[in-house]
């Protein structure tokens, strides 16, 4: 007979989703991020593979963030149109990640270019995941 571990499982789902109050230092995050990049780098042989690995890790972060932010800011309503998603990213996502809104939203084609800005490669890539999915929705 299977023994089901139930410890902790119900308690977590009861917790509130409001923004946590604890603040960690930016240097703690920077050091962690640096170790992640070094780890990825030790397992690949090319830059594009490195980017792909980092992007994979970022995708998980993005997916979780999307759920939380949508619940919090938009009352559970997810944006499905491209422009609205981009605005959502510009305002809410950027605020959650970097503490302030993105500077501006330029009209650009569907392909998101990678910005080499203080290690934001990880973050920009998950935009692609969101936009790519949207494109498939639009195409339907």
């Amino acid at each position: 007979m299977e023994v089901r571990f139930t410890r902790g499982k119900s308690a977590i789902l009861e917790r509130s989703l409001t923004r946590p109050k604890t603040e960690v230092s930016v240097s703690a995050f920077a050091l962690l991020f640096s170790e992640m990049v070094q780890y990825c780098q030790s397992r690949v042989y090319s830059v594009s593979e490195l980017q792909a690995r980092l992007a994979d890790m970022g995708q998980g972060v993005g997916a979780s963030l999307l759920d939380v932010l949508v619940m919090r800011e938009k009352n559970g309503k997810r944006e499905t149109k491209v422009l609205n998603i981009l605005l959502f990213i510009k305002v809410n996502v950027w605020k959650a990640l970097f503490g302030k809104e993105a500077d501006k939203l330029d009209g650009f084609p569907a392909k998101v270019t990678v910005h080499w800005h203080k290690g934001t490669t990880l973050m920009i890539k998950f935009d692609e995941a969101v936009i790519a999915r949207d494109k498939t929705l639009d195409g339907r």
């Binding site: 089901r4 571990f5 410890r7 902790g8 499982k9 977590i12 917790r15 923004r19 946590p20 604890t22 603040e23 960690v24 230092s25 930016v26 240097s27 703690a28 995050f29 050091l31 962690l32 991020f33 640096s34 170790e35 992640m36 070094q38 780890y39 397992r43 690995r53 994979d56 890790m57 970022g58 998980g60 972060v61 979780s64 963030l65 939380v68 959650a96 990640l97 503490g99």
Partner: protein, 205 residues
């Protein structure tokens, strides 16, 4: 000669959400990477593995990921100590008790925004526990059944070990209790092993 503390970097804080998610992504990736048997054995040989651990399949991923995060934590700790000494005006600690207080009240507060309590001192004064009521690394984290042996926050052990080694203290850090494994609090046990003597090159002094 007065030392100016860099106030600008003192106040750079961020919400712990991204930090928690990023660490989660890292552990997930490690568990995925170490699903492969041959890989596990090769990597584990590189990292000093205790001989009595039995390498069962369901055990491997957890252990490997734990060992790797510990090593990564060690690398972080080695660099973090410099950042810490630069940003805090704490001088050299005179004994292990002082070290414990500084770690709990200054370092943890500065980096993780929490203040663990220092308890359970051993009679010899060389071992103590840090009790963490909350741990930013594990907010909203649950260990699935097949990874119930994973020491998720093993990074923290590595950080403490690495940082203290850079100030000439060899310590052993391990988790005595973990909320992820069903305990009520997270308890980190730290044991002082020895003072690391600085090796001066021959001919000096």
């Amino acid at each position: 000669m007065s030392r100016q503390s860099n106030r600008a970097t003192d106040s750079k804080k961020m919400n712990s959400e991204l930090f928690t998610l990023t660490y989660g992504a890292l552990v997930t990736q490690l568990c995925k990477d170490y699903e492969n048997d041959e890989e596990v054995n090769k990597q584990l040989d590189k990292i000093k593995f205790t001989s009595h651990v039995v390498l069962h399949r369901f055990f491997q991923e957890g252990c490997a990921a734990g060992k790797i995060t510990n090593k990564m934590g060690y690398n972080i700790g080695v660099r973090l100590i410099e950042d810490f000494l630069a940003r805090s005006s704490v001088g050299r600690c005179h004994d292990f008790r002082e070290t414990a207080d500084v770690i709990a009240k200054v370092a943890f507060k500065m980096y993780l925004g929490i203040t663990p309590s220092v308890t359970n001192w051993s009679p010899a004064g060389d071992e103590f526990s840090l009790i963490l009521e909350s741990n930013p690394l594990v907010d909203f984290v649950e260990l699935p059944d097949n990874h119930s042996n994973l020491v998720y926050s093993s990074l923290l052990c590595g950080v403490l070990r690495g940082a203290l080694e850079m100030v000439q203290m060899a310590v052993d850090v391990r988790f005595a209790q973990d909320t992820l494994r069903g305990d009520s609090v997270t308890e980190i046990r730290m044991k002082f092993i020895k003072r690391i003597e600085e090796n001066l090159p021959a001919g000096d002094e």
